[in-house]
Symmetry: C2
Subunit: 199 residues, 2 copies
DNA sequence: GTCTATACACTGATAGAC
DNA sequence: GTCTATCAGTGTATAGAC
């Protein structure tokens, strides 16, 4: 209970938690929600199964936690974009460059795959599908006004701005899957391909 | 053993098989490979679990069968495109229009989702990942020469044609996921968005 | 060809020792 | 904070009757 002991405990706690989180990310991404087992996650993290349950109340909560932080992180990037200086189109270009760059970091692509898992097998996890769909709405709320502004200036093509946004996000999701496959084709992917969808 | 009896048997067989196949497609697509259960598939098909095993030796084979026929069907469309008349760019435009049109038929999007499942959770099914990667190569072999021709005529952007093809396919995969979500944004998606990636 | 009943393995989750 | 041992539930696959 001394201050020293407390610090040590928190350090151990943080370390174990980080190990479990990144192991869970890896295992869930490669095997899917139902295909991943808590045993496997514990093993990948180098800890016992009991310890995983010490930090996360259930498998479902573990997955939900990963999905939530993945969504939150992407959303944060989008928020930064919206409040950045420059014209709407310039900000979109900056965002496209940022996405392409971060997507090629292995951990980022895992996060996108986790979100994809939530969408394409969420039917088995009660409430998850609705939760993700709800959070995803926030993306559109932020991005659509930007597209509309770019349409007014003639830099983006006319048409339903929500459909343009949907196409933009769909491409990003598809690219994440590509990176996940590690076929070595990532290098040739340019931000321009992404922005061209809106033209 | 009479001709009449034989015909009847084959009819029953074909009917049951079709029911099981489409039920399996639906269940696998919505729950993922590991999330889907043979009980659920049998129930969705309106038959007993034992009958499913009468037609398919295992869960793994059932899934593999669906993935294979999904890949085969897409590949067939690509083959038709390549041997069609017109310039390379015209054929690419035709293909884009075809993809967008068929993608919005519910069954087609399920097939794409099945392929996606194979890629993003195939780690649990031995050999599946390699099998899909191998088959996917055929797409590139067919599509890349078309892109190269379009590059020579200046209609496609310069750069690694394989990367362009990868971007093209990634976008299609992403769109399939979008359609799968049924958010009603599909209507605004145009073939031009798809071809613009290559420009 | 179709069904019911069941064997056997595995998984998520808990309890209790250290 | 961390581990081992264990239970109850569920899933794949098979056997055998009709």
């Amino acid at each position: 209970m001394s201050p020293r002991g407390k610090e040590l405990n928190e350090e151990m706690r943080a370390e174990a938690l980080t190990k479990i989180e990144s192991a869970a990310l890896e295992v869930f991404a490669h095997y899917g929600y139902h295909g991943a087992t808590m045993r496997h996650i514990a093993q990948a993290a180098g800890v016992s199964q009991g310890l995983v349950y010490h930090y996360f109340p259930s498998k479902e909560d573990t997955f939900r936690h990963l999905v939530d932080s993945a969504v939150a992180e992407s959303l944060e990037a989008m928020r930064l974009l919206v409040s950045a200086p420059g014209t709407a189109w310039q900000r979109i270009e900056t965002y496209a460059a940022l996405v392409i760059e971060t997507l090629f970091q292995p951990e980022t692509s895992l996060r996108f795959v986790i979100m994809l898992q939530a969408l394409t097998q969420g039917a088995g996890v009660p409430g998850l599908l609705d939760h993700v769909a709800e959070t995803t709405e926030a993306y559109y709320d932020l991005f659509v006004p930007l597209i509309e502004e770019a349409q007014r200036s003639g830099e983006a093509a006319p048409g339903d701005p929500r459909a343009l946004a949907a196409a933009f996000f769909s491409f990003i999701q598809g690219l994440a899957t590509l990176v996940f496959q590690r076929k070595g084709l990532e290098k040739g992917i340019t931000p321009r391909m992404l922005t061209n969808i809106l033209r």
